[in-house]
């Protein structure tokens, strides 16, 4: 199906590969997966993604799915969200999770790091105002804890409050009395997460060998 079609579209694949850094083999595999998810349609909708069973237990499922439809993650300067995305958008979002390799220069690595961070930041900053406010952050924490049963929204609140307080005290140690800590800006976000080395962690392995055949039974 998709595979046979994509072979005829080599220039397109080449183009995508240049844009995203995936190898053409990886793109082919992703394309196959895309067709599988979309039910052989040209575009994919939120419902398609929500159908993935393995995601059911993921506490931040909604945020992840949102991220796929977020125009900011397409890196072309637009804001808002798509109703449906095509394969190109799909791959572009996926490209945030590409692992680094030894050949990359330091600038490349830095760019990649910022890209990953931006993705994460966008996931938190739902209203796209450039800051993660307490409310937005609290929502994430609530979602995060929502599957762990015993923990109620009160605790989520307390945790996000305390976390935010930490951020405030780290980033603005000398706050004037009339200063407001509106929320976490991207710079602060970067600052806070420095220690996490996400450039070496926010990666998944994109196989060159197709595994979807052995996997599709489970996930669909």
């Amino acid at each position: 199906m998709g595979a046979s079609r994509s072979r005829t579209e080599n220039p397109e694949i080449q183009d995508l590969s240049d844009q995203t850094g995936f190898s053409s083999e990886q793109i082919r595999i992703l394309h196959r997966r895309f067709r599988q998810l979309s039910g052989d349609e040209e575009t994919i909708s939120k419902e398609n993604l929500e159908k993935i069973q393995a995601l059911d237990k993921n506490p931040i499922r909604n945020q992840i799915i949102e991220a796929f439809f977020d125009k900011r993650n397409q890196k072309d300067g637009k804001v808002g969200s798509f109703e449906e995305i095509g394969f190109e958008q799909f791959v572009k979002v996926m490209s945030h999770f590409r692992p680094p390799n030894l050949k990359m220069t330091d600038e490349d690595k830095e760019a990649m790091r910022r890209e990953k961070l931006r993705f994460l930041f966008n996931m938190h900053d739902t209203d796209n105002d450039g800051t993660i406010t307490l409310d937005e952050y609290r929502k994430v924490v609530e979602e995060l804890l929502s599957k762990s049963g015993a923990i109620g929204p009160d605790v989520a609140k307390a945790i996000s409050d305390a976390a935010m307080l930490e951020v405030a005290s780290i980033n603005m140690p000398h706050m004037e009395p009339d200063d407001f800590y509106e929320g976490i800006t991207f710079e602060h976000f970067e600052q806070i997460l420095k220690g996490l080395e996400m450039e070496s962690r926010m990666n998944i392995r994109f196989l060159d060998v197709d595994t979807s055949t052995m996997h599709c039974g489970k996930s669909q």
């Binding site: 993935i52 804890l145 009160d154 996400m198």
Partner: protein, 869 residues
């Protein structure tokens, strides 16, 4: 590794404690008899009686028994204890000056210290009486170091790099052993070592196998002081732990081959050797896991024997080591995996105090034996008998070890990088090669060589020692400069902030989700599956039900953060004297005496509330609370309301008591009970500190005005803030608009009014109390609990017609509703007012307690506040 001990048992003796020449009464030969014969490789238990038996036989009642010096009887344990003391003192001396330890690792210094001590002994005795013997090393010194390593192993990191670690540990070690052995043999054939060496190919390979393994103790000692990034650390450290299994097998196989002799080795024997490797390594690991599970199961049911609970971990851990040894499996792998398997569950199962005990005891043992190991590595060198010098052999060994290690690491990493998600960088590879330190394990194995089969045993021992000194001292010293010079990625700051922990969790879930969406079965997918399995089945089996409920990590972090805050808060307060009021007289009243009946009426509700709470902290706190009858709190204000002015002596005597209770915080009230260790920690105090910090945390959080800022922008905050900035807490209280608080807390307002009405007639006293009032957040106002009985009484008694205290009202709305979860017990609305007053009175002199946080301005009720009420 210790397998060969049995074969060479006749030669292995407890630390050579014979002291042949040193003893006055010509009992020398008798005393050294049992030691030299030493079939009792099983240790001091067996050798102790043995030695004393020999001694008793020789000492045929020469003097009056009552005053005779019983040296022989106590010799062994006495010397052991003495050496432990000496090792401890040596470490202490070394650690006196941090300028030295910054440049030279402690292990190197200890070895040098050993040289000195060995020199002293040599000078006194003319012979080296104390050396590190394999039995002592493998049975009494090594296990606790390895258990500690396993127990503190960062599991996630370890398992996510397990593939690479195994490749280094298995293939890398085999490569090292083979290449070093063969190269040395080649050089021997080429005549580089002189004509009179009698070493065959197999013996070279045997030597290669014992010198190949990177030593976990040495590696840990050096890398602990150089904070390299965690992936690099786990690679080096994991390799050094696991390659032990390989070394044991290689050593045993080659040892057997040497015994067999070259011609009789055929393919079948070689296959047997390879098979035995897998059996030994995996059998050992499996056995360790079994013991780990056993520990978990035991700690599930030790609720009633808390005091000896930590012992099980050590005993069972040690048993896993001995059992593996008994079954000829890899003992080190067994104890490593035992530690890895049990760490998580026992931390959840055991009492917090027991967990701390285990951690500390583990560190004491591990650090202690590490010290002894290095010290004795140094002492052992000062012995004329073992030194055989062959420049060619020794230098070539050093060279080959170094070169082949580098080649091995680079080649294996090159292969691994083709498969690794995040490749290992070149700089890290250099450090990995350079971190190939050899240590006591190699020395122990060398000493175990059989002299009848290997003529040049002493040469091998000397070479091993040289290699150990070279790697530990030279490479150890240069490691830090090298790491700095190469700008190796360092480990992140030790402590993660809360937000980082949250982000970590987000990461984990996100990666799994992306893998799901992209349809890949990757690392994260597998980990997720494993986690699910673990949560569903393993923790059901291995964890106490109560612990299972409380296991959310994020929340634990939060809890710990709070506790830490509480501690630092108290320390800070102590330092600044802002907790003085606690010690002050007249701050307390005998609550129990007064309200005994009331409280017992109240308690059921309260404890029920606490019990319902499923959160870790409240249930913990609540639990302790319930056992404790009454917290010590300041109810003095309303007490006065109720009863009028009390007799001064009455109060004073009581306050004296309380004062001592608080002062004695760090002392233990000894109860002379063997099965209970009661730390004299006033529960009310704990409660107080905990909740106070909770509140400070939230207050100062709100002072950052997030959340509140958006909804409450109409407030005249600027004016308020400026006043707060002046530090005059009482001032801003009054300037607050009356209405925003009073509406929500009518009944407490009334109560506070009552208090005030009392306060006015006695201005001097009250002002005194203002400074002295105890702020006990346990008694923070809670709208949900209805006014306690005595309150209504108080209102009536005092004629609650006075206008409500503004301060009281004002304070109330900040009480975050979410605190209720964490602080289930708030019985009264009173002392928050006294808290306020205390702050108000002491405000100008003492700045608000937690310095890094912004000053607590009057913030606005957080948005969620209203909904909760």
């Amino acid at each position: 590794m210790p397998q060969p001990i049995r074969e060479s048992a006749p030669k292995t003796v407890l630390i050579q404690l014979s002291l042949q020449n040193g003893k006055p009464n010509a009992r020398g030969p008798i005393a050294s008899g049992p030691n030299a014969s030493g079939p009792n490789a099983s240790g001091p238990n067996a050798s102790g009686p043995n030695a004393s038996g020999g001694g008793a036989g020789g000492a045929a009642l020469e003097g009056i028994p009552g005053v005779a010096l019983q040296w022989i009887d106590v010799k062994t344990p006495f010397l052991v204890a003495l050496w432990i003391l000496v090792a401890g003192l040596a470490k202490m001396v070394i650690e006196v000056n941090h300028n030295v330890t910054n440049y030279i690792p402690e292990s190197a210094l200890l070895i040098c210290c050993g040289f000195l001590l060995g020199g002293v002994i040599w000078g006194a005795d003319g012979v080296q009486t104390f050396t590190l013997t394999p039995t002592v090393f493998f049975f009494y010194l090594l296990p606790q170091v390895i258990l500690d390593a396993g127990y503190t192993m960062p599991n996630k990191l370890f398992f996510s790099n397990l593939g690479a670690i195994l490749v280094y540990a298995i293939i890398g070690t085999c490569w090292n052993a083979a290449s070093v052995g063969l190269s040395l043999w080649g050089c021997h054939q080429g005549g580089a070592m002189g004509p009179d060496l009698d070493i065959g190919l197999l013996q070279y390979l045997l030597f290669g196998s014992l010198i190949a393994a990177v030593d976990p103790v040495a590696v840990l000692a050096v890398f602990e002081q150089v904070h390299v990034n965690e992936v690099l650390f786990i690679m080096v450290f994991g390799e050094s732990l696991l390659n032990d299994g390989v070394t044991v097998v290689l050593f045993n196989v080659f040892d057997a081959f040497v015994s067999l002799g070259g011609p009789r080795i055929n393919a079948a024997e070689i296959v047997k050797g390879i098979v035995s490797f897998f059996v030994v390594a995996f059998g050992g690991s499996l056995l360790g896991l079994v013991f780990g599970v056993l520990i978990c199961l035991v700690t599930r049911v030790t609720k009633n024997i808390r005091i000896i609970e930590p012992g099980f971990i050590f005993v069972l851990g040690y048993l896993s080591y001995l059992t593996a040894e008994m079954l000829s499996l890899s003992a080190i792998l067994a104890i490593v995996f035992c530690g890895i398997a049990c760490q998580r569950y026992i931390k959840a199962n055991m009492d917090e105090a027991s967990v701390a005990t285990v951690q500390h005891a583990m560190k004491v043992l591990a650090n202690g034996s590490e010290t002894i190991i290095f010290l004795f590595l140094g002492i052992s060198a000062i012995d004329k008998n073992i030194w055989v010098w062959n420049t060619g052999f020794i230098l070539l060994t050093l060279l080959f070890i170094f070169v082949y290690r580098i080649m091995g690491v680079f080649f294996l990493t090159w292969i691994l990088n083709k498969f690794r998600l995040v490749p290992v960088e070149y700089i890290d590879q250099i450090i990995m090669s350079y971190g190939g330190l050899r240590g006591a394990v190699a020395y122990g194995l060398a000493v175990m060589l059989d002299e009848s089969k290997i003529k040049e045993k002493n040469l091998m021992i000397s070479t091993t020692l040289v290699v150990v000194y070279f790697t530990v001292i030279l490479q150890g010293v240069t490691m830090k400069p090298l790491v700095n010079w190469l700008k190796v990625k360092r480990a992140a700051n030790a402590e993660l902030t809360l937000i980082e922990k949250v982000q970590n969790k987000v990461f984990d879930h996100m990666l799994v989700a992306i893998e799901d969406i992209s349809g890949q079965i990757g690392h994260n997918y597998m980990r997720d599956k494993w986690n699910n399995f673990e949560v569903k089945y393993l923790s059901w089996l291995l964890m106490k039900p109560s612990a299972r409920r409380n296991r959310d990590r994020l929340f634990n972090v939060f809890h710990q953060l709070n506790l830490r805050d509480a501690m630092s808060y108290v320390n800070e307060g102590e330092r600044r004297g802002s907790l003085e009021f606690i010690r002050n007289e007249s701050a307390f009243v005998d609550f129990k005496k007064k309200f005994d009946t009331d409280i017992s009426d109240m308690m059921p509700d309260i404890t029920a509330d606490a019990a319902d709470d499923t959160l870790p902290v409240p249930s913990h706190m609540g639990g302790t609370w319930r056992h404790h009858d009454i917290p010590s709190v300041s109810l003095e204000m309303q007490d006065q309301d109720l009863k009028g002015l009390r007799e001064a002596e009455d109060i004073n005597s009581h306050h004296l008591l309380q004062q001592h209770l608080y002062k004695g915080r760090k002392q233990h009230r000894h109860r002379y009970s063997r099965s209970h260790f009661h730390v004299n920690k006033d529960e009310g105090e704990v409660q107080e500190i905990f909740q106070r910090t909770m509140r400070t945390r939230l207050e100062s959080f709100k002072s950052t005005k997030m959340g509140a800022a958006k909804k409450m922008s109409h407030h005249p905050k600027k004016e308020d803030l400026q006043k707060t900035a002046n530090g005059n807490a009482s001032d801003w209280g009054r300037s607050r608009p009356h209405g925003d608080a009073g509406i929500e807390f009518p009944e407490s307002g009334g109560a506070a009014g009552g208090q005030r009405s009392y306060g006015d007639p006695f201005p001097t006293r009250v002002s005194y109390r203002l400074g002295a009032g105890v702020e006990n957040p346990a008694f923070m106002p809670d709208v949900e609990t209805q006014a306690p009985p005595w309150l209504t009484e108080a209102d009536g008694g005092a004629g609650a017609s006075v206008e409500p205290s503004q301060r009281a009202q004002l304070h109330l709305p900040w009480t975050p509703s979410n605190l209720r979860r964490l602080a289930p017990l708030r019985i009264s609305t009173q002392s928050s007012d006294s808290f306020q007053r205390a702050d108000a009175a002491s405000g100008p002199e003492t700045p608000p307690p937690p310095p890094p946080l912004p000053p607590p301005p009057p913030s606005h009720p957080p948005p969620h506040e209203g909904s909760h009420m």
